[in-house]
Assembly symmetry: D2
Homo-oligomer: 375 residues x 4
């Protein structure tokens, strides 16, 4: 009986599988297949790799390339039909998952003054990072937040949320970041449209910022035990000031310069259970050393210009550009200016890595910590 | 200019995307693709489903079908070449991931008296559940544990581990359970072969059981802060006794009868960060109500016989059979005996669901909580 | 045989002890005493009171009374001989413990420009609240912090600490708060003089403020697992701003107006394991309702004037006055101004109450929540 | 003007107070006293001792001395009048607090078959350790537990609890342990008599033992977030077995032999928030080294005979004797038998020391770790 060709991942290393196909074994594999089973030694080396090999590739999306297309979507589709006018970032290695890198989704959304998106909730966790425009706002479970450039807002797992731009504003563009691919692949995503399509605002505007955004102070009696930060909005001005203050007290990280994590003020932990976010400042002339770690990262250039080297390839960036670093990819950053600092916003799946015990990190040891460029 | 056909997932529901393809839009989509981007509204309804739809299907693997094949592997391949002689369970919907269900791997391994597998470590977390034979043992980071039928042992993320059967034992078969598919897809798996291929045993045999397996008592001064249970082995005799004792004190769960979780005695939490495990007892004649929840489950029948109904399909089982319940699949269990209890061992990814805030549960409300059978 | 008179706390209530002394019992009590024992029923009602009855009394210390005495200490004793020139607050009910209320110590310390106190460490936890003067500083484990009026600084359990006033400053007065009486009575106090009598400053001035005092942001990689807040200094300006911001988002507490707790930014919990601290704002014209709770409190008036009613007695206060509220004493606060807010700083032993499961609270139900004055 | 004599604790050590009384200062002290204040330097050295000095003294209470007196109380007072017939242990240094050592109370209670104590609740936490008799039981919040010799049961802070002996039992004697002195001195004690004087039993007998007393297993869905262990009873048989098992896996502590803590199975932490408990086994011939630590301890000899040396004084003990070790007192233990093990039950305030950051420990370094006897 003819048996079909099969995968067989052999390695000639002690402790690894190295079994040659024989007619008898191939027949045996056929029998196993009929029982919804297989022989581990044919796939063991594949499913137990020596180290992670990301299916994502490093990509830099230049804002000057994308911006016109984002704006054009306003002419092409109505918000009613499109739901949201978003151009999503599609990593060549992750197209089947519509992911920008790893299990993270990202897109650029545009909204015109007076427009309002319908309210919904989902198990995916989301954030927005404002790129340009005036008058943007987000409502999360009845809490309305006003937003300006480089502000960052959460719309966590399970919350009713909606976005809009006030009628006296200007066209606004922001970056969305979500864990939709992760939650889908974990087979745990639910989606609900708000029964009224819009929420009512039930609190003073920016109340959560006023309540939870005070350094070293917490409202007495204000309990919070949800899995995400009650400080739903992180504004740019205090963030940039924090970086400058922290820079006075630290030498910084050799890999990241002056790096601060956005945190849940109640726990000191990440802003959401599946997505972390940070802002880092590369000081004038700063050039970091390379390292790599598990976890997928999306960067947005909040300020300045420079370049990053990712797995030996150079990516030049300036304000508003977006790029990604796949899991276990070497990366280092360079501020191109000798007089101005540069700031990179990132969001990532580090909370997943930490919660599941999967974080690993390694420094690039050779060449003074700098990667040679790959041609 | 000709544009290629594209996916476009439309829904005629307020708040959902419903944009018709036009030549202009198709050309626009081509331009976006060249920028490694896409229009969200073409895929939004796909990536934001109303509820999870598992790619796994319910499967029951009968031990009487598999056992002969497992034993035959001993004749077909040597341990040196195969690494381990394991027949893995291959869910028809998850073949590309070699998964038994969701992101969980499972296989049946056989080992003969005097055989020893080489020691290794990986980022995946693993467990074994002993199905038959005498003399099996596992060594984890120098702690040696002897194992008998229905014993359950951990070989967690990052630990050196190896299995063997003592030379005065009998051929042993056990079920392996791992999160290899999950750790691979999270791009965080590392694999290391022990430099000496074998560990030395550094502690009295079963020392962790003697140290941590005492109800309500904990060794003074014995700190433990690792992400997994120091009680690496969970023996059958005290487990079965625990179920009988707990049965005296509880009415049980309507969905699961008398269900106990194996826990980390230091925290009361799950045995490992990514895999939970439980043993449940269906009392004589017990027939549970259906429910569904996020998280993927693999069951092994530790004792007795009966059937389960999964998404409307009946699966009859007896001792040593294995079956799976995919995420968000309805399921209910029936003990076929009016006089004997039945016990089901399960392992699952509930710790992932809980750590990431993704656990959801729903009771089957109609028909007294019992699913109608689907023909 | 003559027996001595003994205490015997009888109550004629079911479930309470009510045993009459008899010659036979009195002889029995004598025998027990010789065995270092006693009969519980003679003291049961004493040691099991129906509710707490504080041995502290409410006291208000007027700054205008104390200030001259504090300043005079500079002429009377040298810092070398006195160690520190401090006038401590001595509650009439707690003189044997040198406590201001309950198990809390407080004192007013004065220091002249150029003076430096010697460095030491102790198991007691301490804080300072600056009342007047320029140029004060504190050094904690090598971290130097500059201090102005209404700033609040921690010198926690086990840290090396010292205070000084820079030579270009002015005479400074501050309030010290400590749990010395508690740690003494728990028989756990240790005291060490620094081997060099002074510490060296090992970090940039105010580095901990720059590092940890940023709302919603935390330095990446800066671990902190000690039992106290790394944000050792809480400055007045951001504190007052926080109260004003929070006031926009809250109706406030009926008992406390706009009340915020100083917290450990890493955990969201109290600043030290034994002492909590808060700042509260009574809005113009605000008059709170009375409540009582376990835990002892010391208040300092940071801003404004008004009065508090404590167990039916009125205490009028203005800026810099200090008063105490004993455990389980009814208390309510009134801002005397219709146009200005008033701010009260407090420190307390609430972390002890919470850690030991002893916090209880009760609202004053009668008379619209306002206590009748006791003449 | 005549001034009264005052305490003044001078030390001639740099960094310590050393101010001589002068007429001017004495007059100044009088003025301060009128303001409810004092000069710190007169008391600083007293309230900041170099190390703890316990007001408790080591005491051994011989059961052969106390037993007859305990039994005699049955003739002398009725349960109705006495509430409970208890002989409490009265440390000579702690008589004003009715404490056995530090802030811990202990007493020996007797109850005859058919007797029932009235149900009550209090903020103090309590435990009982059964010394002799058959048929004793305790009910805690409706959970009834049967008790035999060396069993240990909790009646935590805030729970309704009552004790009794079944009518077919024998006279029972047990040791009570409580933190009444601590909760009183923290001014946080509340006492309530049950409105019906007795509780109804609402669960199967020993249900909490059946539910929570299983090694490595926890009932699915059984939440517990209270501050004390749901495993209210700790039986002797599994405790002694645990010590024997653990002894196979450990060399033991040089200070305590084979020491296990009773724990809350949900958290791995202490059984109650204010009282910890342990059982330790001194192996045949074992003689431990001396150490000292903060925290007060009461020991009961559960098995065997031997002696302890406490602050240089020898205390010989045998089964049922009770002794105490004050805070920071040196102590070491000796098993007098070369063939039998000895077991010591202890309860203590270590959870208080740990929760408040006050635990300190020191080994006795001289003389091979053995204290010289003080004559």
């Amino acid at each position: 009986m003819a048996t079909k060709a099969r995968e067989n991942h052999r390695e000639d290393v002690a402790g690894r599988a190295n079994v040659e196909d024989t007619p008898e074994l191939l027949a045996y594999y056929d029998e196993l297949e009929r029982l919804e089973a297989g022989a581990l030694w044919t796939v063991a080396n594949k499913i137990e790799p020596w180290q992670p090999k990301s299916s994502s590739v490093p990509v830099l999306w230049r804002y000057e390339d994308l911006r016109a297309h984002v704006l054009r979507s306003v002419e092409l589709v109505s918000p009613e039909k499109a739901g949201r006018r978003v151009i999503y970032l599609n990593n060549p290695g992750r197209r089947e998952h519509a992911a920008a890198v790893g299990w993270l989704y990202s897109g650029l959304q545009v909204m015109h003054p007076g427009e309002v998106a319908s309210a919904h909730a989902h198990s995916a966790s989301a954030l927005r990072f404002i790129m340009e425009g005036e008058g943007a706002y987000t409502i999360v479970d009845g809490h309305k937040m006003t937003l300006g450039a480089n502000d960052f807002v959460l719309t966590p797992n399970g919350t009713w949320h909606e976005h809009g731009v006030s009628s006296d504003g200007t066209p606004c563009i922001w970056q969305d970041g979500l864990d939709i691919p992760l939650v889908n692949t974990l087979e745990a995503n639910f989606y609900v449209v708000h029964p009224d399509l819009q929420q009512s605002v039930g609190y003073p505007v920016d109340d959560m910022t006023h309540t939870w955004g005070n350094p070293g102070l917490r409202p007495a009696g204000a309990d919070w035990s949800k899995g995400y930060s009650p400080l739903l909005k992180y504004e740019w001005a205090p963030t940039y000031e924090a970086l400058q203050r922290y820079a006075k007290a630290t030498d910084g990280s050799p890999y990241d310069g002056v790096l601060m994590n956005y945190v849940n003020p109640v726990t000191g932990g990440p802003v959401m259970q599946t997505i972390g976010a940070s802002m880092q400042m590369l000081r004038p002339g700063e050039s970091t050393r390379a390292h790599r770690h598990t976890g997928s990262f999306i960067y947005q250039v909040a300020k300045g210009r420079g370049h990053s080297i990712i797995d030996g390839k150079r990516f030049d960036w300036k304000e508003r550009d977006i790029f990604c670093v796949p899991s276990w990819a070497w990366h280092e950053h360079v501020n191109a200016s000798a007089s101005e600092d540069a700031c990179l916003f990132t969001f990532n799946d580090l909370p997943v890595m930490h919660a599941l015990g999967l974080y690993r990190e390694e420094a690039f040891g050779d060449n003074g910590g700098r990667q040679p460029l790959v041609s």
